[in-house]
Structures are given as structure tokens and as C-alpha cells.
Amino acid sequence: MEAAYQKIVRLESQLHPLGVQRAPLWQFVLWMGFFGTILLWGVYAMFLCWFKGLNQTNMNDSYGFALWIWADLGVIAVGGGAFFTGLLRYVVGKDPLKYIINYAVLIGFICYSSALLILAIDIGQPLRGWFIFWHANVHSMLTEVAFCLSCYFGVLCIEYIPLVLENRKIDEVPIFHHTSHNFHEVMAIFAATGAFLSFFHQGSLGGVAGVLYGRPFAYRPEFFIWPTTFFLFTWSAAACGPCFTILVTKITEAITRKKLVKDNVVELLAKIAGWMLLTYSIAKIIDTLYWAFVMLPKHNLHVLDFFTNQSLIYSKLGGVPWILVVEILCSVIPAVILVTKKGRQNKPALIVAVFLGSMCALINRWVMVLQVMAVPVLTFETFALYFPSWQELATTILPVAYGVLLISLSHRYLPVFPQERELNPV
């Protein structure tokens, strides 16, 4: 028995990248088993939704868009680190980012595949999902999202495949070796196309809420053919995505108890994210003020009309809608930390900043999905309150478990972090 286990360990270790230390196999199996169980729970809920229908959720006719759409927009926003880091590395030419681009791509791949899966669960007739392409209404923001999202997922596959092919054993096969090498050669073209597609789908996700002229809470003025939320969403994804990439990198470093990326690389990305966040927060504040003081008064509405003490999340603390304040603070505070050299070189401050930066996108997406649905429009209707069912929660946790599993597998078998060997000599 012991001999058989040792043999398996020996064989398995041949799949690890050269010159790096990996956790013992039993530990890895336990870890994977734990998250695999959570994944299975989510998969079970997913099949319940597919076979029994969306009555498995707590959504209703007031809450057509709920937790899933938030999760969808959320993962796409924080997954924006992939396109933006790719753009900086391959098109702008920020060379040091090549040490973190693999991980940014992997995180993006997880986020986008999760988003597509969530969408497949969320639609009432999953087998008709292809109608969005076939019968496309080009005037719908959701059509733009579907097209660009699917295409960009293709780009992420193209960016992730070479990394898989660089596994020690796979790389020994000549055709795979050549393929991964050749993909790297033309990666700039894919990265540029990915940035083009991302610009549109991130923006269109903002447009989804911004074009709802029947709902004053969401509706924003149009700039060219897009509402301002189009630009704010793209901007925030480019700002918050890298924050999430850094956050996940730091979490990975903490769990593996290794330094995986050099500080100068992280600081460069953090600095760019900081400036993006700063400009975003200014734009967001201007947009909010214009909405509150120019658009709403036209309908005799006041910002506070959209908040109620019936709900904890949308309540007014001392007359102030706290979620709106927190949303703005989550862009301003990390921006101030990250644009200063002292701030981003201070480790705890950096962690706080990238955490708040990630939350900035997540809270914004929450407000632009769930609060839009909650706020009544007819004067005689009241706030719609909603709490997700366990099936919705399980299918929302599913991508997290899936992400942990894919990161664990990738980290164990693929050369995700080019600086790992140098930083952790065996």
C-alpha cells in the first residue's frame, strides 16, 4: 500500500514544473476534495434549476434580475484584470507585467467561464440560448454583451491554452511545444482583439441598466449612442480588475506560503490600477451628482426616494444612504492609497486597497442590478425585497469552488508564475 502510494507520488511529481516545490499529494487531494464537494453541491443545485425550472429560485416578477446577474456582472468586472493587463503588457508594452499576465489570464478565464455558466442557468429556456445570436436584436445591450462575451471567452481560451501546453509532460510533445510557442508569437493580436471586445462587453453590461428609461434609478444620459454607465463600467473593470488580480495573487501567496511575484511587478500594476480608480471615482462622482441634481428633479424625484429603511442594504443611516457612500468610498480610498508610492509599498495598505478596489466593482454591480429591481416606479408600489434561495446561493458559490480548483490545478502543474523558481530556490 505504502509502496503504491509512493509510486503514485513519484509519477505525479513528474507533472510539476521543474525546480519548484509543491504540497504533498495527500494534502492536495484533501484540498481538492473539500472544494470538489462544494462544487458538487453547486452542480446539484444547477441541475435542479435546469430540470425543475427557475421556480427553484426566489426570483419573482419584480426581481427578474437577481443574485445571479449580480454575480455575473461581478465576476466579469473583477475578471477585467485579464484584458487590461493583457492590453498593458502586449499593446502598451509594460514589459514587467509578463510576470503576472499568466495569472491574470487564468483568473479571467475562471471569471468568464463562470459568467457563461451562470447565464446558462439564469435563462428560462437554456436550450434556446443560441437565439440571442441567431435572432440578434442589435439594439439590445444584452446582445452586445452576449456576442462580445462569447468572443472574448474565445480569446481567453487562446491565452490560457499555451499555458496548459507548457506543462512539463505536454511540452515534450513536439506539436504542443510548437503550438504554445507560436501562440506566444502572435499573442499581441489576440490581446488587442480581446481588449476591443472587452471594451464593448464591459460597457454594454453598464448599458444594460443605463438604457432603462422606464426606471429613473438606473437611467443615465446618453453620450453618443451609449449611456454614461457604459463608460463607467468599462473604466471600473479596467480599474478594479487589476486590483482583484493582485488580491488573488496575494491570497495565493499566503496559502502556498511562497512569494510568487516580485514586488516591483505588483507595484506597477497597483500604480496603474490606482490612477484608473482615481479617474473612475471622479467620473463616478460627477455622474452621480448629475443624476441626482439634474436628471431626478425632472421627475420630481429625490435621491432618498430610492432608499428605504424596510431594507438593511438600502437603508438610510442618519438620513444618508450608506451603500451609495460605501460605493464611492471604495473607489476613492484605494485610489488614494495606490497612487502614492508610500501607500502601495506598504503591504497592509496595499492589501486593504486591492480589497476595497475589488469591492468597488462588486458593490457597484449590486446597486446597478438589485437596487434597480428593488426600487418601485409606480407611485403606489412599494420596495420589492428579495432573499435568494439555497439553490441560487449554491450556484453562486459554485464558481468560487470551481475557481479554487482550477487555480490549484494550474498552480500545481503549470508554470503560472515565471518568477516562482527564482524567488523560491529549492
Binding site: 421556480n55 419584480s62 429556456q125 434556446r128 432603462l212 422606464g214 420630481n300 403606489f380
Partner: protein, 283 residues
């Protein structure tokens, strides 16, 4: 129910009808006959428990409004709410729901002004529901079910809908098709009384008037243009629409002599204390 159907553009017929409704809120007693007629006419499925109006389907829904005052000043108003068949900004056909549907499963007909829903093409993304400020769109959360014997009473003119798609009031479009077929066969124009919705005909108080808002001979035209022939219905009141300020351009007009009811229609003119929806009753 797309542009290719119906015969709205037949020779001699005014191009571009705009069907709409005028509902007299001072006449509505809240009896719910319109809701029942609508459900029977349009094969709307039921659930054993229909008390939660957030997940049951009521194409025509009667809201019970209260002025929020205590006895003896308390007043109640029943407000029937079908789909508004919005013409959208500048009445150009870009209804809030139509422009957002990613699969072109809902369409605005320039021949009738009716917003259609193509059930077999809808894949249930529910974006249109989010876009509609009137909550006039409903999702089939469950498989459609009717008590066994009631299946024999399903209308053959209206397709039943499957789980996972959105549905809504169609202004009984199948009645329009039927009436137009006959008119076309007899080579004449459609008469006002030939195409009436089920709710209009079912209302015992005669609170609903239905017709072509573009046709000068129709009563809805006279009422909405405040012409003297409409005086019998208008009785000095001014027609208003729900959330007119949002530029959704609904085709359903309301009449009420009570100021607080008119103010409940639009936030821009609302009273300090909002009109409140009563619990119970028809909800």
C-alpha cells in the same frame, strides 16, 4: 403578431392604427371581472395558491389604491393595469421592453401599435421585465397547469405558453386577427365594435373603452382628444397616463375626478403623502 401578420395596411384602410384604452377609474368597482375574462380568454395558467402576486400571472391586474387617510376621509380607487403597449420616446415604437429584448422576441407593430410577445422565441432572460416600469410582464416560473376539466375550455386561438418564457397582455390580438379576416373577406373596413378586448366586454360597469387612437370616429380618439362627442365619458375630467413623465408613451389612458388618484399616476405631480396600495383585495 409581427409586422408580417394582420392586414392593417390593406387598401383603403388608414395605415397605422394605434389601438388603446381609456379606463374610467371612477366607474371601476374593483369586481375583477376583467381579470377573470382576461385569464379565460388568453389561456393564462393558474396555481393552486395564487396569493403571491409576485409570481403569479395576471395580464390584467387590478390594483387597490388608498388615499392613506383615516375614516371618514378614507377613499379607495381600483386601478386596472393591462400592458400599456408603450410607443416609447417620441412614440417611435421604441418601447422600453422592445428595444432591450436581445432575441427580437417582442416587437412593436406600426400597423396596430400593439407590442407583441413571441413565446416560442423568448428564451427567458427577463430583461424586458426589468425594463417595464409597470410590471406588466410576467414570467412562467412553473409549467402551465389547469385543473383537468378546464383544459377543455382553453381557447384554440391563443397558444399556451411554456415554462421559462415571458408573457403579457396582447390587447387580445387574436380577436383583431379574427375581425380583420372577416373584414378583409367582406372587403370592408374594421368597425369599432368588431375588435374589442375581453376585459372591455367583461366590465359590468362599462369602465373600459377600447378602440383606435388614430381613428377620429372611435370613442377613444374623442376622449383622448377631449372632443365634445367624448363628453359623455369625459364629464369634465382630463385623461392621464401612468408615468407619462418617463416618455414611455403608454396607450392606456385613465380618467378620474379625484385629484389624489390623478396624482398617484405620476411621481412628478404626486401628493406629499404617496398614494398607498392596500393589502388584501385583488392582490
Amino acid at each position: 403578431m409581427t409586422e408580417t401578420q394582420g392586414h392593417g395596411n390593406q387598401e383603403g384602410h388608414a395605415p397605422g392604427s394605434k389601438f388603446g384604452m381609456v379606463i374610467d377609474l371612477d366607474k371601476c368597482t374593483g369586481c375583477g371581472a376583467c381579470m377573470v375574462a382576461c385569464m379565460a380568454e388568453n389561456n393564462v395558467p393558474t396555481k393552486p395558491d395564487e396569493t403571491n402576486k409576485l409570481d403569479t400571472i395576471t395580464w390584467m391586474r387590478v390594483f387597490k389604491l388608498s388615499n392613506g387617510k383615516a375614516f371618514p376621509d378614507a377613499e379607495t380607487c381600483y386601478l386596472p393595469r393591462p400592458c400599456m403597449h408603450c410607443g416609447g420616446k417620441h412614440d417611435a415604437g421604441h418601447s422600453p421592453c422592445v428595444s432591450v429584448c436581445p432575441a427580437t422576441a417582442t416587437d412593436y407593430s406600426y400597423k396596430t401599435g400593439i407590442v407583441s410577445q413571441i413565446y416560442t422565441r423568448c428564451f427567458g432572460c427577463r430583461y424586458c421585465m426589468g425594463a417595464c416600469p409597470y410590471h406588466a410582464r410576467y414570467f412562467n416560473w412553473w409549467d402551465p397547469k389547469w385543473p383537468a376539466d378546464m383544459k377543455n375550455y382553453l381557447s384554440p386561438d391563443v397558444s399556451v405558453r411554456m415554462r421559462g418564457v415571458v408573457e403579457k397582455c396582447s390587447f387580445c390580438f387574436h380577436r383583431y386577427q379574427r375581425a380583420m379576416d372577416l373584414a378583409y373577406y367582406e372587403e370592408r373596413e374594421l368597425e369599432e365594435n368588431e375588435y374589442q378586448t375581453a376585459c372591455t366586454q367583461a366590465c359590468p360597469a362599462g369602465a373600459i373603452t377600447f378602440g383606435d387612437l388614430n381613428n377620429e370616429d372611435h370613442m377613444v380618439y374623442k376622449v383622448t382628444h377631449e372632443e365634445s362627442e367624448g363628453d359623455e365619458i369625459l364629464r369634465g375630467r382630463t385623461p392621464f397616463r401612468l408615468l407619462e413623465e418617463l416618455e414611455t408613451n403608454p396607450k392606456v389612458y385613465y380618467l378620474s375626478g379625484r385629484d389624489w388618484v390623478v396624482k398617484a399616476g405620476n411621481a412628478s405631480v404626486r401628493e406629499e403623502a404617496k398614494a398607498v396600495k392596500d393589502t388584501g383585495g385583488h392582490h
